[in-house]
Each structure stands twice: as C-alpha cells, then as structure tokens.
C-alpha cells in the first residue's frame, strides 16, 4: 500500500517558520509567519521526519527494526512472523497469519491516509505475480516504456544485436555520442537486472564506455 502525501505526516524537531501561502494571507496579520509543527514537501528534513514517524509507529506496534536493513520491520508473535518493508511511502507487508495482517491494516488506517490496499502486483517498476507456491517478477511494462522512450519502438528485431566475438576498439573518426543519453540508457537497462540477472552483460558495456 501507499501512504498519501507521506511527508506531511512527519513531525519536526526544529523550529521552522514559513511565510503565509500566497492567496491565503490573513488580511488582519499580513506580516505574520507560521511556525510549522509538521513537515512540508521540499523541506530538507521532510524525508527523515517521515521515516522517523513511521518507524516509531511500527516499533510501538511491536515490530522490530532490521539490524542491517533499517527499512525492514518484523513482528514475531509466537513464531508467527509478520514482515513489513518500507520504501519511503510504499509499504509491502505480509504475515503468516491473516489475523496479524488484518490487525496491521487496522492499526495503520486511522493513522495515515492510504491508497491501494490490496494484493501486491506492482512495486518499483517490478510487476509481481503471486501464485499458490510460486512468485513471478517481471518488468514488461517498464521495458515497453523504455523502448518507446528511446525511440526504438518502430525498429525491427535482431536475433543477435552484435557479433559475439568482436573485439571492440576505438573508432578514431567516429562522431561523439550524446553521453547523457547513453548513460541514461545503460542505467535503465541496469534496472532490468532486478528481474533478468542474465543481462548483467550491460555492466561490461558500461565499463567500455567509461573508458
């Protein structure tokens, strides 16, 4: 599930003042400013304030914060585990008993405004398919977007886009490529290794480009 306007939930530890929002200035006190109790988007401490608020809430609910991964929370109720992984405003959770899961949702809902409470199907560009005792991850939507983004959607298919034993050397007369676009492409491809570790070859190409 997804917490709506997550950063607005964080409490501030510091004294922060903001001017009155344009269009909503109090005519009797036009020179007054607001002292913030909670964070606003754009404030330096907003992400941390939110992380702290959520962490505190989960710990109060009996969850243990992970020692290595500080965004993983585990609750152990007589050997029955309930796990919650947070990614800023996105929370993935599940548990060995329905009761624990229902309890978790019921505790969260009155505290935070949330959307998309349902079975996990999409997370960080990763499509997730959960079956009885199988789980699939795929990134086909992400790939389709990529192909479109880099203008390759009307190009044909190639079984092997490059010769496999070709030794790559510098093209002395070649025109320089747009480095930013190239790096963006490689970065986008690297993200695909999350579901397709077999394309880790991309990293080798990246090395070549950096040299």
């Amino acid at each position: 599930m997804d917490v709506k306007s997550a950063f607005l939930n964080g409490y501030l530890n510091e004294e922060v003042y903001v001017e009155q929002p344009k269009g909503l200035v109090d005519p009797s006190f036009p020179n007054h400013v607001y002292r913030l109790k909670k964070a606003l988007y754009g404030l330096k401490q907003a992400p941390r304030a939110w992380y702290e608020r959520l962490t505190q809430f989960l710990v109060n609910q009996g969850h243990m914060k992970g020692g290595t991964d500080k965004t993983l929370f585990v609750k152990d109720d007589n050997e029955r585990l309930m796990i919650a992984q947070i990614y800023v405003d996105d929370i993935v959770f599940g548990g060995m008993s329905d009761k624990m899961v229902q309890h978790f949702i019921q505790q969260m809902q009155p505290k935070f405004e949330m959307s998309l409470v349902g079975e996990l199907t999409y997370f960080l560009g990763l499509q997730v398919k959960q079956m009885e005792n199988t789980i699939f991850i795929l990134q086909s939507k992400y790939v389709k977007n990529l192909v479109k983004k880099f203008g390759m959607d009307n190009g044909g298919h190639k079984r092997t886009p490059a010769a496999t034993h070709l030794k790559l050397t510098k093209d002395e007369n070649g025109v320089a490529v747009d480095q930013n676009m190239y790096k963006s492409m490689i970065g986008s491809l690297l993200y695909l290794t999350a579901s397709r570790p077999d394309i880790t070859e991309v990293k080798r190409i990246l090395k070549y480009i950096n040299n």
Binding site: V18, K22, L40, G42, Q45, R48, W50, T134
Partner: protein
C-alpha cells in the same frame, strides 16, 4: 530567525488519451533557503534496496504468505 518561502505547484493530470482529468495543486517549501543547524539538523533517511525487496518476495514464497 529564518522564514522559509513557499510556492504553489500546479499540475494537470491526464488520462491515457491525453484528456485532463485532475487539476492538482500543492504547496511546497523552498527548502534550499534552509540553514543547517538553524532550520534542520538531521536529514538522512534510509531507503530499501531493490535486492532486499527481491529477497522479501522470495521469503514470502517460501513461508507461503501473500504480500500486500
């Protein structure tokens, strides 16, 4: 005392046909004017790694529970 200025951000959300379906407005603080030590102290927040998430998917499968 430092007073942080704010700004309205307006955005039109459109559907897949390009028709505007929502007009969104939000107020944001112009955090770049904040001074360390005066307006903020700690700003670091942890974020999960994609590898951890993949691991979680695996664990949920082994323990046979659904993720939400």
């Amino acid at each position: 005392m430092n007073v942080i200025s704010t700004k309205w951000i307006y955005k039109n959300k459109s559907d897949e046909h390009g028709t505007v379906t929502r007009n969104k407005a939000r107020q944001v603080a112009q955090g770049y004017t904040q001074v360390e030590g005066l307006d903020f102290d700690e700003t670091f927040a942890h974020v999960a790694r994609l590898e951890s998430i993949r691991l979680l998917l695996g664990v949920s499968c082994i323990l046979k529970f659904k993720l939400f």
